[in-house]
Subunit: 341 residues, 2 copies
């Protein structure tokens, strides 16, 4: 029942270029904030209290990709819910034993085979796994079926590139740039409008899927207010029609988009630096990370044959023009806990 969308999952499989082996930057982001979410759940989750007969606790990871980060993000939630459940069982003998079911959601062309094959063996003792194919920009699960939703570093992927950005007759035509870069005001506006629309659709769907009192934990990247998206690559005619469906909102844009949805309360919102912000990442690390993230979208537009050469050139450019990490410090991590009214 999901809406159609441009569908560019992370690189599948488990070879050297896969997302599995090139997602430690994202993992560091998850690690950096999870303690606060744990604390919040421990102190405030009242689902168990509300329904002592609850026998299955359901968790969904929206935009899970293929691990290992999703298993990691889910495990910390399960651990803390178990702890809370244990405490409540000790206090109230009516509390039923709890089973866990985890819904791993991503686009239908995500590599679910690898996801299932690489699940930690221990997870089989902890929860029942299911894969949910479908764009999270639309409903992917039944009404009132999820107790805790999670999403980590996903919603900067828009449902599509705003159409006018690829339209040569539009003021918002992005010429030979490949993403929102704040050099053309109309381009920025088009991306921003798309982001707001997508975030609206995302939250509307989640509000329907979560039970009342359910939590939605959202982790992502944003920019301080007034700070533009980074400088961009520009190039030849070949890339005139290529744009990335990616937008990093400024903090107030993000907050505004969330507040538009009246079915959630913002229980917690923190804006922090990425734990690896100060680390001088190697050129190899950066190249591999971008390849795992971008090769699907590049392949779709230019064909698979260009990927090797493109990232060879990317690595070469990086070595000639190393990244100024001081400049990159502007990008931040947001960590939000929403509660379904």
């Amino acid at each position: 029942m999901s809406t159609s969308s441009q569908s560019y999952p992370m690189s599948g499989g488990d070879d050297q270029h896969s997302y599995i082996h090139n997602s430690s930057y994202q993992k560091a982001g998850i690690d950096g904030v999870q303690e606060k979410a744990r604390q919040y759940i421990l102190e405030n989750l009242d689902l168990l209290n509300m329904n002592p007969n609850l026998s299955t606790f359901t968790i969904a990871d929206f935009g899970c990709s293929i691990g290992p980060n999703t298993f990691h993000a889910i495990q910390y939630i399960i651990d803390i819910v178990k702890l809370k459940h244990l405490k409540e069982s000790q206090e109230d003998s009516r509390v039923a034993p709890l089973e866990f079911q985890v819904y791993f959601n991503d686009l239908p062309n995500n590599d679910f085979n690898t996801l299932f094959r690489t699940q930690p063996p221990s997870s089989k003792q902890e929860y029942f796994s299911v894969g949910v194919p479908g764009s999270f920009y639309g409903r992917v699960l039944p009404r009132n079926s999820i107790h805790i939703g999670n999403t980590s570093f996903t919603t900067h992927w828009l449902s599509k590139v705003p159409e006018e950005v690829c339209d040569k007759n539009s003021l918002a035509w992005n010429k030979n740039y490949i993403h929102c870069n704040n050099l053309i005001e109309e381009v920025t506006e088009a991306y921003k409008v798309q982001f707001e629309k997508d975030m609206g659709v995302f939250l509307k769907a989640r509000a329907e899927e979560l039970v009342p009192g359910g939590l939605m934990i959202t982790l992502g990247q944003c920019l301080p207010d007034g700070v533009a998206m980074y400088e961009t690559w520009s190039g030849s005619k070949k890339i005139e029609m290529f744009n990335l469906p990616v937008y990093f909102p400024q903090v107030s844009e993000l907050k505004g988009a969330i507040e538009q949805n009246k079915r959630f309360t913002i229980e917690m919102m923190e804006i922090v630096s990425h734990p690896l912000e100060a680390v001088q990442l190697s050129n190899n690390f950066i190249t591999s990370m971008y390849r795992a993230i971008l090769s699907t979208v590049i392949e779709r537009h230019f064909g698979g044959s260009v990927v090797d050469e493109l990232f060879r050139q990317f690595a070469k450019k990086l070595s000639e023009h190393p990244i100024d990490f001081e400049k990159c410090k502007k990008q931040m991590v947001y960590h939000i806990v929403l509660k379904r009214k």
Copy 2:
């Protein structure tokens, strides 16, 4: 939370050798009996009546493989539940609108990517799909979470080859035969014991997963009482340690195994001929069907390189010794509806 098992899914992908393109024999079996199950559901399903607030109706297909048969089997269940729900809504205004969630279960190395990619587009409007990786010889879903379970042509695949059958020191050693064939009494007994044990595990798990009043629709192949499993291939030393984990029970064995489980009532049990029984199947059809079913287990034991040659020889043998379809008529289709007490 599933138990470990030998894991040989049907051939994945969608090439000429895939299960997708070589499963019309099984589809004919499903088509042949579904009207009776429809009738039963229409007249007897009381879940909606029991719970007018039910908002999500859940269906699971255990051992779904990769389609299209699973989509077909699920669709007829959804159609009839929708019809019944519509009737009840007209009679009782308290009945809530219904959403459907379908759990597609198969072994973790089943090709879920192809399953998700080949879903009929119309299904996206009808139900929320999820994939459930895990052996159905064990729990794969939470307690009390499924309203109708279905399984088609699956439980003749045992969880494993009985160990003694591969043990040269055992009376039940199967020598140079490759499956249960009734030539060695101890082999037959070992397979039968394994079947009864597996069927017990299967039903115990389903009884926990189904809600009280839930239905389990089971379709499969069996033999009339007193009829032995078919003649077998025998061959060289190379196959001494190779046996197929397959057993077709006789009717009374099947019924006995079901009756062991006290949490189900047998609501319907019919034994019918397969609709294609009288059709003279082409050698090409037969070869392709067996290849789609058996290549995974053959590859695992002998390596992938033998598959082409083996089925070339199989086709050659078939053309030299055509199947006597009169003899094959002994195999029958059972169709059972169980109700969870």
